[in-house]
Structure formats: C-alpha cells, structure tokens
C-alpha cells in the first residue's frame, strides 16, 4: 500500500497529476477540499481559521485549539483510509499532514509563474496583471498558512522527496514516474511503518475525542501514542478538567494504557546513552519539577534507522501488546535490548515516578538524524543534550558544541549540555557567590547614594538649576551608566534568591 502526498499551489496541474496518479495506482484520490468540507460538517470551523490565518490575525488560545483539532481531524481522516488502502492526497500542506511516516512519498508540484498567470487569466477571464497579482497573493497565503500551522517554510526543499515542474513534465509522464517511485521499497508499508500509522491515528483520535467533549473542548493538551499506549500532557491550571481525560479516552478504540502528565512547558532531552543515577540527570528532573515540565526523551542511535518512531513512556513498563506480528517482535526485541543497555528504561522509569514523563523516541543516524527527523513544528522550552559523539573521543567536545548551535538555530529555543544545567537553572555554589556578591554590591550602591542625598540630587538637577553644559552632560552620562548597573545588580540578586526558593 502506498501513500503519496502532493503539496500544490493554485494551479490545476497538481490536481490533474494527483488524479492521474491515483488512476494508475488504482487507489483513492483525496483533495484538501474534500477533507475541509468534512471537517466543517464535523464542527471544526475551518473557514474561520483560514480567514484568521490568511488575514494574519493573531492566533488566540481558542483558535490554537481549533488548529490542533483540525490537524487531528486531517490525520484521522487520512490514516483511517491509509490503513486499508493506497491513497493519493493533494493539498497545500500535503507534505506535512502525516508526520513521522517513512513510507509516505512527499512531492512538491511547481509551475512557472508565467504559465500559471496565463492559466488563471484564461480560467477567470481577467487581465494579465490581475492574474499575476492573484497568483502572488495565493502563494503568499499558502506560505503563511504553512508557517502558522506547522512553523516551517513551504519552500524548504528538505521537506520533500521530489519536486516536479509542470514546465518539463506532462501530467501523464509525471504520474508514471511517481507511480514507479511509489512502488520502491522505501515507500512501501512495513510492519513498523504500519505501527507508526496506527499510532498517529490513535493520537489523533484521542485529541479529537478530548476536543469534541463539551467539558474539555477548550482544554489545551498534547497527545502522543505508541502501540496503544497514550501519553497526554496538560497545563497545571487545567488540572480539575483534565481529570475527565481517562473517562473520555476510555471510549477511543485501540487505547491500551494512558499516562497523563501535568506540564506547563516541555523539555527535550537528547542523548546516545543515559545514566539515571548521574547528577546531571537528577538536575534535569529537578528543573522539570520546578518548571512543571514534561520531558521528551530522544534516544540517539548511531545505526541508520529507517524512521523516527514516536513512542510513549509506558511501553517500556507495560506488557507488550499482542498482535504485532513476528517481524515486529524480532525487531522490537533487538531494539529493546539495545535501549536497555543504554540506560533508557531507567531514565524513563525515574521520569514517570517524578510525574514528568513525556514521550520517548528512538532516532537512528546519530545526532544528524535528530536534526532531520524531529520537525521544527514541535514546541519546546528547552533542549538538553547529554552524552553524544561518544566514539569521537578527541573531537567530541567540539562536535557537541556545533550540534548545540545547530539545534538552537533550528528550534530557536535555549539549548544546553547537561553539564551546564546546574549553573544555568539550579542553585549551586556559583549562584550563592552571585547572590552574596550582588547583595553586597547593592548595599554599597544604595548606602552611598542615600547617605549623600543632597550632593547627589544637586548633581542630578543641573538641568533645572541652570548648571553648566559640562554639568548637564555629566548628570546625563551618570544616569545612563548608573541605571543599568543598579538594574542588573538588583535583578541578579532577586533572580538567584528566587532560584534558591525554587520560584521560577
């Protein structure tokens, strides 16, 4: 069974291409319009979302939840079909609607602007200029939609397996090429990718179930699933309503267990090997507790893996579900042995005990694999990198530093090595010195200023008392230099004090 997703613009070429390809593969051709109509009938205000995004209106909390529900609806719709048959989907975000599935062929169809303008002018019976303006506007709208919903660039070539240009290939020939490509082993469903598809469907169904229940429809949650094990995170202020989640998800077919974690923020913890007893990991748990954060763990493997598999925390603890098939069992047994050796179960166990467990993922291809396989759309407050590049003894430190800056560029959030966690976010000797130092400096500054109020204020009032030009300059320079010193000194004192009291 094949899944081909075509990302298209405003032109007819892609639609025809998708239909021809579906005809050749003998499968269903699903358009974005079909799904949005069904979603609207289902009760998701897709039209309102489109207007808000395309008119660049700010996304409110309520709308962010509607976006979540829409994405879950699209995933459910496509996954339900894709589990039983091949399909071709075409829409503006075709390449993004089924994330994390290795066997999906993602195609971008493009056409030269002149050809599109000619087509639009003829189709809509408008002038060349107006048709050009229309096409430019449509492209801009799609870019905005993609950026708002998925936080990626529509034109980023790394998100596509192939780009087809209407100027060089007829629809017929392009469909023939895609048909051959879709039948290659890389794009054929495997037991593992079927499992990933089922997980994606289960998570989407759970998200929809929470969003469609009257009492929890505006609850901000994040849902992940792996082999029937569902992991839900929700913000602390929703604690009371979140108690309904187990009851609601009890009706979702396919769910075997549930982990609910209260989290106001998310931390991504990445490493090749883990040590649950190490002080660095203890620091990470301490920070997660302090921030009410869920910790997503990414286990990096140097072996090239076919795909990133989303996993929840529970499977490592719970008994394996039945019905995986022999191939999957063997693969899992090998993988389970490896992750056990590298300390993953202990780490997850500790996170669950602390109530801070997010999801677990195994990613092949080492650190480079992480950069390509974790989408930019995932939102984290902090990324923490543990033991990586272990085999590169001499260049390990430099490679890790480069890796940290690569992650910071991609996710635009603070990225730290585990060794720096304590000095940055916890109270230690360095913070104690800073606390005492800033307090001492503040006392000296305040004492000097307040025991000499009269001369200080005379000096400051040069502009009011017809002071000389030099006196006015001196007073002005003093204010501009002195104010930040006081602000940073007092700020450093309070920052460390609150760190000591664990209020951050």
């Amino acid at each position: 069974m094949q899944i081909v997703c075509i990302s298209r613009g405003s032109y007819d070429y892609s639609k025809t291409l998708a239909e021809k390809l579906a005809g050749k593969l003998g499968c269903a051709c699903i358009s974005r319009e079909m799904i949005t109509d069904t979603a609207t009938d289902f009760g998701i205000p897709v039209g309102r979302l489109e207007v808000a995004v395309l008119k660049n209106r700010p996304i409110t909390e309520g709308m962010a939840i509607e976006v979540d529900l829409f994405k879950a609806f699209v995933t459910t719709y496509l996954c339900e079909r894709a589990l039983n048959e091949s399909l071709v989907y075409h829409g503006r975000t075709g390449h993004l609607v089924l994330p994390g599935l290795s066997h999906v062929l993602r195609v971008r169809a493009i056409a030269e602007m002149d050809a599109r303008v000619k087509n639009s002018a003829e189709r809509m019976n408008i002038s060349w200029e107006k048709a050009k303006q229309y096409n430019v506007q449509v492209d801009e709208d799609i870019r905005r939609w993609v950026r708002r919903l998925y936080n990626v660039d529509w034109d980023d070539p790394s998100l596509y397996d192939m780009t087809i240009s209407a100027s060089h290939l007829s629809e017929e020939n392009a469909a023939a090429i895609l048909m051959n490509m879709a039948q290659m082993p890389e794009f054929t469903i495997t037991p593992a990718s079927r499992q990933a598809l089922q997980d994606l469907l289960l998570a989407a169904r759970c998200r929809l179930a929470i969003g469609m229940e009257t009492g929890t429809q505006d609850l901000k949650v994040s849902v992940q699933a792996r082999k029937g094990e569902v992991s839900v995170t929700y913000p602390p202020q929703e604690e009371r309503r979140a108690k309904e989640i187990p009851r609601i998800l009890g009706q979702v077919p396919g769910m075997q267990s549930l982990v609910c974690t209260v989290a106001s923020s998310n931390i991504l913890y990445v490493a090749e090997t883990f040590q649950a007893e190490s002080p660095e990991f203890t620091h990470l748990v301490e920070i997660a507790e302090k921030w009410n954060a869920a910790v997503d763990v990414v286990h990096l493997s140097s072996e090239a893996a076919p795909e990133a598999e989303p996993e929840s925390a529970a499977p490592l603890l719970a008994a394996k579900s039945a019905g995986d098939g022999g191939i999957l069992d063997d693969r899992d047994a090998g993988q389970a042995q490896r992750i056990k050796k590298e300390g993953v179960p202990e780490v997850m166990d500790k996170l669950i005990q602390a109530g801070r467990a997010g999801k677990l993922r195994n990613i092949g291809g080492g650190p480079a694999g992480l950069v390509t396989q974790i989408p930019k759309t995932e939102s984290y407050n902090l990324i923490v990198v543990g033991e990586v590049f272990a085999e590169k003894k001499l260049s390990k430190q430099r490679l890790k530093r480069d890796f940290l800056s690569l992650l910071a560029d991609k996710f635009r959030v603070p990225v730290l090595g585990t060794e720096d966690l304590k000095s940055q976010y916890l109270f230690g000797p360095r913070q104690l010195v800073s606390l005492i130092g800033s307090l001492a400096l503040a006392i000296v500054i305040y004492a000097l200023a307040f025991t000499n109020q009269e001369p200080v204020m005379k000096f400051m009032a040069a502009g009011q008392t017809h002071g000389s030009f030099g006196a006015k300059v001196a007073a002005t320079v003093f204010v501009l230099a002195f104010t930040p010193i006081v602000a940073f000194t007092v700020g450093a004192f309070y920052k460390n004090l609150l760190k000591l009291l664990k209020i951050e």
């Binding site: 209106r57 202020q237 009890g250 204020m457 005379k458 002071g467 007073a475 930040p484 209020i503």
Partner: protein, 360 residues
C-alpha cells in the same frame, strides 16, 4: 519635612522610601503579569506621595530603561523580538518622547507663576488627563474583548484596522520576518510616534505599543510583547537621556523602584504560567479602571491650584487622600490576587503527580 534642591525633589524618609518600594513591587507584579505597563500604577503613586508629575515620569522612564534592558534580553533568547519592527518604530518614538518632554517642560515652567497655583500643577493636570483618557479607553476595550470572547463565534482580537490598512496598501510596505507581517512604513512610523509621545508623557508606552502591534499591524501577541520591550529599552534610554538633561530624574526614586519592581516582575511572570488568560485580562482591566478613577479623583485639586475651579484648598488634601486610597486599594488588591495565584500554584505543584492508568 525638608525638601531638596529648592523643593524640586522630595525628602526621602524611611516611610516614603518604603511606600515607593511597595509601589515598585506592585507595579512590577502587574508589569510581569500583564506584560507591559506597571507605570500606570507607579507614576500616579509617586505623585500621591508628593513627587511632582514630571519628576515622577522622569524617574519612572529611567527605571523602565534598566528594567526593559533586563527583560528584552530574556525575550530575545526566546525568539520573541522583531528587532526590525522595533528599530523602525523607534525612529518616530524618539521624536514623540522629545515632543513630550518639550510639552512637559513648557507646562512645568508655565504653571504657578502669578495665577496662585502650585508649581507643577499644570503639568500634573495634563498628565492626569492624558492618563485618564488613554487608560480608560484601553481598560474598557479589554473588558469588551473579554465579554465578546466568551461567545463561541469570537475569533480573537478584532482585525478591522489590520484589514482596513491592508486594503489601503499605502506604499512602501515592509516585511517583518519574526512577526511575519507586511505593514505600511507610514503606519509603523505614526504608531511609533504615538507610543513615544505617551511613554514620554505618562511613562506608559507599552499600553499603546502592544495593542498597536496586535490590532494595527497584526503581530502575534508574544512577538508584540517582546518587540515592545526591546523598543521600550531604547525609548527608556532616550527618555532617560532627555529628562536627565533637563535635570528632572530623581535617581533615588529610580533605585528604590528597582528594589521592589524587579522582584515583582519575576513573581508576576511566574503568575502568567499558572493563571488562565481570561483571568489575566480581567484582573488587568479592573486594576487599570481603578487607577483611572484614582487619577480622576485627584484632578479637582490640580484644577483648583490652577484657579480653574473655585473650591476650598483644604479639600485638596481629601482629594489627594481619596486618590491615594483608591490607587493603593486597586494595586494592592490586584497584586495580592496575583500573589495568591502564584503561591497557590507553588504549593499545588508539589501535590500534582502524573496519573498512570494501565491495562484497560
């Protein structure tokens, strides 16, 4: 009670210093919680303690300079700052501040000279009137927003202005990459001017800058808050420079404000993580309305000092007292409410555990 430099600056007793620190703390909590402002509480609060309006504004804008520097550094790390937008707004914001300082200087010099009024009464009245008008509009709009957002069909902040300006297409338009919006340069410059003028007049530029970015430019709320803080740092710098040049900055007030506000900012920011958005907006608008009432109550005293109304000067003490009580009640109630949320969340955090349901 002796006064410094010919009565320009107040005598700083322990009691006054403690009250200023408290103002700073409450202002800081509100500022950290609401995301902007705090000055709407601190400026009139200092005026109620006997600080002349221009000195209160000058000390507060200088305080804002350092505070925004600390805050924008943090926002920058989170990718919430559109530097291009802030810098373009800054061009006219600087002009606005300079204009505000000039107007203030004229009013400050003009009053109390032969009309029987106290020195600074004209400036005080002017600041109070601008304060009342602007903040009444802001708070009532916020309340209306809360009421309308309770209806299911509401899509968030109104974008009528954004849509209207988009249709106008006033060239040249500029693309702001972090905020992801295209806005006419003229619109940005006009909003910058208004933001700067209000920051220079009442020290509350954020209440214009942030809504302008959201409602007029269509910028996402987080980027609006971060970019405004970045802009506020430069506006604070420029405002401090101008007021310091005119000899109006009371550096003692600035220092005492820091001692309370920086603690308050951290506590208020923590509060935003644990309180629902609608509660944040409701608390904010009620506090602002009470601050507006407080300034309205103080206005007759300034009118009397300028000879514009004929009331018994003895009543001024009562007007001032009533204004002071209203301000403290509003700020303290708001800050206590926020502190309550913060502490409740702090204790609750230790009780909440993950719930694990296995074996369905």
């Amino acid at each position: 009670m002796s006064e410094l430099v010919g009565g320009l600056f107040i005598h700083m007793s322990w009691s006054v210093a403690l009250q200023v620190a408290l103002l700073g703390m409450i202002g800081g909590i509100l500022s950290g919680f609401i995301g902007s402002g705090g000055a709407f509480f601190m400026t009139p609060g200092m005026m109620n303690l006997g600080v002349m309006g221009p000195m209160a504004v000058a000390s507060n804008i200088t305080h804002k300079f350092g505070k925004a520097m600390v805050g924008s550094k943090k926002h920058g790390e989170m990718g919430n700052v559109d530097k291009k937008l802030s810098i373009i707004m800054l061009i006219t914001a600087a002009v606005g501040i300079r204009l505000a300082v000039w107007v203030m200087k004229l009013l400050f010099a003009g009053a109390g000279d032969g009309h029987g009024g106290a020195k600074g009464a004209g400036a005080n009245l002017y600041i109070s009137l601008v304060f009342v008008i602007i903040l009444a509009v802001v708070s009532l709009s916020m309340l209306r927003d809360i009421v309308s957002s309770r209806k299911k069909e509401e899509t968030g902040p109104s974008t009528k202005i954004v849509d209207f300006l988009a249709r106008l297409k006033l060239p040249p338009t500029i693309y702001f990459p972090v905020a992801d919006v295209n806005v006419s340069l003229w619109v940005v410059l006009i909003c910058g001017l208004a933001t700067g003028y209000l920051a220079g007049t009442i020290g509350v530029g954020g209440f214009i800058g942030v809504p302008a970015m959201i409602y007029v430019f269509g910028v996402p709320a987080a980027v609006a808050a971060g970019s405004e803080l970045y802009l506020a740092m430069f506006m604070g710098l420029w405002g401090a420079l101008n007021y310091a040049w005119e000899g109006m900055v009371d550096i003692r007030l600035t220092m005492i404000l820091y001692s309370g506000s920086l603690l308050g900012v951290y506590l208020g920011a923590y509060g935003t993580k644990v309180v629902k958005e609608v509660v944040i907006r409701a608390v904010t608008s009620i506090i602002i309305i009470l601050c507006v009432l407080s300034r309205m109550v103080a206005t007759p005293a300034y009118l009397q000092q300028l000879g514009l109304i004929n009331t018994d000067p003895a009543w001024n003490t009562w007007f001032n007292l009533a204004s002071k009580i209203l301000l403290y009640v509003s700020g303290t109630t708001g800050a206590l409410l926020i502190l309550f949320f913060v502490l409740r969340a702090y204790w609750k955090r230790r009780k909440i555990e993950a719930s694990l349901t296995l074996g369905r």
